[in-house]
């Protein structure tokens, strides 16, 4: 039995219980004692044995039933559970698996302290104190990192924040009359999540580690803008410095724009941006707006001119959109309108400039960490593609053998996964949820992303193994993610998390 299958089982189990009774989904309810590596392995192997035992008792054959559209990849159905005792054993397994996830997380965080993030020396920002989290090392001590969310964020009414996102006027989502108990529960969970964020964000010196812990599991829509800006290191955690720093950066951006557009444009860069903008999310209304298109053009062009080693590379136009959309969403007061249908014309010039500047700086921060994806010969992407291949060999040897037999090269299908951070494979809404987690990880956009890609590929292992070269290529070019909800993304992220915990520092000595 492959490890992958074990994981699917544990995970599905977890989600069933989370959905049905909310049991075992709150990590606050159990204590974590140890974080050492032997303990992790012990826990995992214990869970592995447990799973084997339980699976034998409740699943008659390998024929897997699915739980519905959004959970089509889970391999256990409530129909399979035939007695109370089985439910109990599932419940205990659920606990074990959760504990192991927390332990493995801690292991991961501690080990990652040793590694220094890569920094680009291609372009040095003149304003060297703008790296807002300079005084916050990564040191997560709490055992409550992983809280598995069972509810999707729901949009709610909220007062407009000021331009710096730090006023206290934002209100808790106003309750509408709940239609059912489940809805009421969802609402209260949502409110409690919102309040937890608010508590962290309202502090005069925000604890970024606390914010990361919360954000890993998804950020409420209303607080995403400020949270992302803090997590990426753009907005300073110290509230006294925030507004002055942000207005300085915004001013700096405006001056940069004035400067680069006052001279003749670099023709090939401008041409490429100009032809890519109309085909960026062209099916979404927000992106067909003139205002949006001109903003994105300016952002990309300024970035390209300032980063000549890579310049503008196709795909960066995708990466700018989650920031733009998220920062713009602060001004979408009518929550009945999806941000994707939002008309940015209602913003004042100052508001729009602020959104544009914040987007530019956050994109700059993001690309700093993955710049070798876009320089000549794209070594960062090649490294990640090789990393993915290596991972799949460990996680799902059968699949890697099948792909090899069919002469599939990983670069053929996963180049785009790396180049556009899976944005061509999943919706922008799903991407935004994914970035909540990426921004809370140490190297979310390069290292953790490879584990996410592994989880993404392995998800379709059973189908892929029955396909030939052509069918595999066609399938992976257009994977069936159209109806994915944030729950699918959360499942993917938790799977990726497990793979990272298991394999992160294990590759060097096995090579």
């Amino acid at each position: 039995m492959s490890f992958r299958k074990w994981f699917k089982f544990v995970n599905s189990n977890e989600f069933i219980f989370g959905e049905g009774g909310g049991r075992g989904t709150n990590s606050n309810s159990s204590n974590t004692t140890s974080s050492s590596s032997p303990s992790l392995l012990k826990t995992l192997s214990h869970a592995f044995k447990e799973k084997d035992k339980i699976k034998k008792s409740i699943i008659a054959d390998d024929q897997i039933k699915t739980i519905g559209a959004s959970f089509s990849h889970l391999n256990i159905s409530t129909e399979n559970i035939s007695s109370i005792s089985q439910l109990q054993s599932l419940s205990s397994l659920n606990k074990n698996s959760k504990q192991s996830k927390r332990n493995s997380f801690k292991l991961d965080r501690y080990s990652s302290e040793k590694t220094t993030p890569r920094h680009s020396d291609q372009y040095t920002d003149l304003d060297d104190d703008w790296n807002a989290d300079f005084d916050n090392g990564i040191n997560i001590k709490s055992s409550q990192f992983l809280e598995y969310p069972t509810l999707r964020s729901k949009k709610s009414k909220q007062q407009q924040q000021n331009l710096y996102g730090d006023d206290n006027n934002t209100v808790v989502p106003t309750p509408e009359t709940p239609k059912s108990i489940k809805e009421a529960e969802e609402k209260s969970a949502l409110e409690s999540k919102y309040n937890k964020f608010k508590q962290v964000l309202d502090e005069s010196n925000i604890d970024l580690n606390k914010l990361k812990k919360l954000s890993w599991n998804g950020i409420p829509d209303e607080l995403r803008s400020i949270s992302w800006q803090l997590l990426i290191g753009y907005s300073p955690p110290n509230s006294n410095r925030r507004s002055s720093q942000l207005s300085r950066k915004r001013q700096e951006y405006l001056e940069g724009i004035k400067q680069v557009f006052s001279v003749e444009k670099e023709p090939s860069t401008w041409h490429q941006i100009e032809i890519d903008i109309p085909r960026t999310n062209s099916k979404i209304k927000l992106y067909s707006s003139e205002i949006t298109q001109r903003s994105l053009e300016r952002i990309l062009y300024l970035w390209a001119v300032r980063h000549p080693a890579s310049g503008y590379v196709q795909g960066i136009n995708d990466l700018v959109t989650p920031f733009f959309q998220t920062f713009l969403n602060q001004y979408n007061k009518d929550k009945s309108i999806s941000i994707e249908d939002f008309n940015p014309e209602i913003l004042t010039e100052d508001e729009l400039n602020a959104v544009e500047a914040d987007t530019f700086w956050c994109l700059t921060k993001l690309l700093e960490g993955i710049q070798d994806n876009y320089i000549h010969a794209q070594p960062g992407i090649i490294r990640q593609v090789n990393g993915l291949k290596d991972l799949i060999t460990r996680i799902d040897y059968e699949l890697s053998q099948h792909l090899e037999n069919e002469n599939i090269e990983f670069i053929q299908f996963s180049f785009r996964w790396m180049n556009c951070l899976l944005m061509r494979e999943i919706s922008i809404q799903n991407t935004i949820r994914m970035w909540d987690t990426y921004l809370s990880e140490v190297n979310g956009f390069n290292e953790f992303h490879v584990y996410v890609c592994a989880a993404f590929l392995v998800k379709w292992s059973d189908e892929l193994k029955t396909m030939d070269f052509q069918d595999i290529m066609m399938f992976l070019q257009n994977p069936p993610t159209k109806d994915w909800t944030n729950k699918d993304i959360e499942l993917l992220l938790s799977e990726a998390f497990i793979w990272q915990s298991l394999y992160k520092n294990a590759s060097a000595h096995l090579k």
Binding site: S268, Q272, I275, D276, P278, R279, T280, S282, S310, G311, V313, Q314, G315, N317, Y374, H376, A377, Q378, N405, N407, E409, I411, Q412, F415, R416, N419, C420, R424, D468, F469, Q470, D471, M473, M474, Q477
Partner: protein, 222 residues
């Protein structure tokens, strides 16, 4: 999807790998979707890396499957995409008749092929967006002349209104087929010790076929 476009994966006698190259924005992806799915999308997303599609057509009562690799046009992707030229027996170099820069790049693309692809590769020059005749920047005669000089096939086509799209692909496939069948006659006593054009054409096994069935282990597609 009409019957004409139906693709019976294993029901073919020849498999030809074709690459689509040319500057960014000239309409490579739309030529491909027009040919393989009869679809056109004015603002289709830019191609990242390569994308893949197939269509099977009949020439001389033989079913020929075209396996077409659509590449990203931007310069930065060149290092990656040139790896896809390996094993290709045909190439379409596409330019936009309303953009002279895209036509000026054609010789650069030709050089790419000469450097990275099989020397026997059949090349066709396609002037896309022929529907934009009122904005024409590249005279037909000039491109025709250039093609003749460089031994290229030539057509002008429009992915938007489907003019000449089938014709461009079919003309290329026919020419490859002709070359391959000639090679097969020439190499009827082929011993299998050295590479030949007959071998390059088959990138995946062709069940039920006596010709062109190379071994699976040689199916490298890029």
């Amino acid at each position: 999807m009409s019957n004409d476009l139906d693709d019976y994966s294993y029901d073919y006698e020849y498999l030809f790998k074709i690459v689509l190259i040319g500057d960014s924005g000239v309409g490579k992806s739309n030529l491909l979707t027009r040919f393989t799915r009869n679809e056109f999308n004015l603002e289709s997303r830019s191609t990242i890396g390569v994308e893949f599609a197939t269509r099977t057509i009949e020439i001389d009562n033989k079913r020929i499957k075209a396996q077409i690799w659509d590449t990203a046009g931007q310069e930065r992707y060149r290092a990656i995409t040139s790896a896809y030229y390996r094993g290709a027996v045909g190439a379409l170099i596409v330019y936009d008749i309303s953009k002279s820069e895209s036509y000026e790049s054609v010789s650069k693309w030709l050089k790419e092929l000469r450097d990275h692809a099989d020397e026997n590769i059949v090349i066709e020059l396609v002037g896309n967006k022929s529907d934009l005749d009122h904005l024409r920047a590249v005279p037909t005669e000039e491109a025709k002349h250039f093609s003749a000089e460089n031994h290229l096939l030539f057509t002008e086509a429009s992915a938007l209104n489907a003019d000449n799209v089938d014709l461009s692909f079919k003309q290329l496939l026919k020419s490859i087929y002709k070359m391959v069948s000639k090679h097969q006659l020439d190499l009827s006593d082929y011993s299998g010790n050295k590479p030949s054009a007959g071998q390059t054409i088959s990138l995946t096994p062709t069940p039920g076929s006596a010709v062109g069935g190379s071994q699976k282990t040689k199916n490298n597609c890029c």
